[in-house]
Amino acid sequence: MTAIAARPLYLRRFPGRTTLVVGLTVVGLMLLAALAAPLIAPYDPVFQDGTARLVAPSAAHPFGTDNFGRDVFSRVIWAARVDLQIAFLGVVFPLVIGTTIGTVAGYFGGVVDAVFMRIVDVVLAFPYLVLIIAIIAILGPGLKSFYIALALVGWVSYARLIRSQILILKSADFVLAARSLGYSHSRIMFRHLLPNALISSIVFAMSDMVLVLLGGASISFLGLGVQPPTAEWGIMVAEGQGFITQALWMTMFPGLAILLLSFGFSLIADGLGEWLGVKE
């Protein structure tokens, strides 16, 4: 028993391990590529070579070049920095806000709960992307607006998820024990309830990263997110669509990058869920 427990986690077998390891590898490699972009990318991502426009993939340009003569491979690598940031920040704010609200609403119940849950209902009544686009339209295009819009809209899923967990947990004996020992409400909520309720949210956050990533790409595609000439996969796909018959590589490679990163996050979410026994 102790011998098994003493083995490091990566040597132990647990359900979902393979899925988790593959997912972590994919995301890890992309993170590594993003961090090492200046070392890996052969060209400056915004350097325009007028003599080499729409060049097909070759040894000099593995993913070809775009209509401005920029190296697609270098742009895909540099764009990973932007897109990983979108996936991360786009999930962190809603997670923190939604978790806090959900915990408070579930713990206190009554009027507090009713008010917050009606707000959740209102937000959920609108289509996700439409609401985000509307908020960005009000705030003005750019990544900052995108994060604010995500925070305003995305928290509701986390709030609901956490609230349902808190409702189950709050009748547990250890919560009653905490009350009988005179612990404060905030201690009970954030030291006792939340750590036990958070797992399902973390798993959900991983699959949410996929949605946010695709959402960010869509927003940039529509010209509301990252602005050109910054390299970002969504923009690259948007820019390439006019040339899709002549230069498929302009859209294909950034598209594949989105697919691969989403795939990685999905695998992590599934693996974590299977390991920790969380059903979505």
Binding site: D173, L176, L181, N196
Partner: protein, 335 residues
């Protein structure tokens, strides 16, 4: 010499309301989980509360500690009324009382190690200077018979008995004068039960600890408790010194419970009139004595009118109308 009462429960009631089908609270029904209960506990005394599941004994325990809202009556702890809910009084109650629970795993936060759970009490109640906390945690673990190394473990890697000891250590970290133990050994193996019971007996003597021991296991109560109170459908139907009650129960319900205690001796035949059926729904209490539908001695007089009033004789009380030897509510000497 009589010690002053540590805890006085005076006419305490707890009602639960069940939402009706109609809006605006129409059709709402309420049930009395605890029904006008009066109790007294002295420092260093152990009181057992027994009864079937659903008799309200757990609710009573929680209501005493203010974890359940009382709908009537009063709880006085060490001369201070605590059921009013004044903040300062509640804080004092929290600093001097603790609870031990039935499910040894469920009562501990699965994400905290044993040492963290105990240390948290010391931090919140500022029991010892921060620097002394690890030492005090080890001391408490040793006191309940655990090796201090086990403090580093989470509940999942401790056994049920070990978890229960951690729960007791956490309760003791408060330096309580009163512990309410709610079915605290029911989920444990018999051998572990014995160890926990012995632990409580030692602590009670060495620390002058008042103990309310809620259980359905009468044998354990007999071993541990000075007095015993028998609950049926939210009411105390009999109360008195443990040995007296066990030797000569006055209420037929108590008698049935005692005759249902399984004996080790294979030649012993269990009493013929074991309790049949389940208690009636507390939503619709029977008229008259609430026990009459199951009572082996029930007569017409039991089936109507008000529930029987309390009869007393030295140190004992019970609520059964059939005992004609003792007039209701008048003390009578019994040799």
């Amino acid at each position: 010499m009589k010690k002053p009462a540590l805890l006085v429960v005076d006419d305490l009631s707890v009602e639960f309301t069940q939402r009706g089908g109609a809006p605006f609270g129409l059709g709402r029904r309420s049930l009395a989980a605890v029904n006008h209960v009066t109790l007294e506990l002295r420092a260093g005394e152990a009181l057992g509360i027994v009864g079937e599941s659903g008799s309200g004994k757990s609710t009573l325990g929680r209501a005493i500690l203010g974890l359940e809202r009382a709908s009537g009556g009063a709880v006085t702890f060490d001369g201070m009324r605590v059921s009013g809910g004044a903040r300062a009084d509640m804080e004092r109650l929290r600093r001097e009382t603790a609870m031990v629970f039935q499910d040894p795993y469920g009562a501990l936060n699965p994400r905290m190690t044993a040492a963290q759970a105990i240390a948290e009490v010391l931090v919140v109640h500022r029991k010892v200077p921060t620097a002394d906390i690890p030492a005090r945690v080890d001391e408490l673990l040793t006191l309940v018979g655990l090796r201090p190394e086990l403090g580093a473990r989470r509940p999942a890697s401790l056994s049920g008995g070990q978890c229960q000891r951690v729960g007791v250590a956490r309760a003791l970290a408060v330096d309580p004068r009163l512990i309410i133990a709610d079915e605290c050994v029911a989920a444990l193996d018999v051998s572990i039960q014995g160890q926990i019971i012995n632990l409580f007996m030692e602590l009670r003597e060495s620390m002058e600890l008042g103990l309310i021991f809620i259980a359905h296991d009468l044998a354990i109560v007999r071993r541990l408790c000075d007095r015993v109170a028998v609950m049926y459908l939210g009411r105390i139907v009999e109360e008195g010194p443990t040995e007296d009650v066990f030797r000569s129960p006055r209420h037929p319900y108590t008698a049935s419970l005692i005759s249902a205690i399984p004996e080790i001796d294979p030649d012993m035949v269990l009493a013929p009139h074991l309790l049949a059926g389940d208690p009636p729904s507390p939503m619709r209490l029977p008229e008259g004595c609430t026990f009459h539908p199951r009572c082996p001695k029930a007569q017409d007089i039991c089936r109507s009118g008000q529930p029987p009033s309390e009869r007393r004789s030295t140190g004992r009380r019970w609520t059964c109308i059939l005992d004609t030897k003792t007039p209701a509510n008048e003390p009578m000497e019994v040799s």
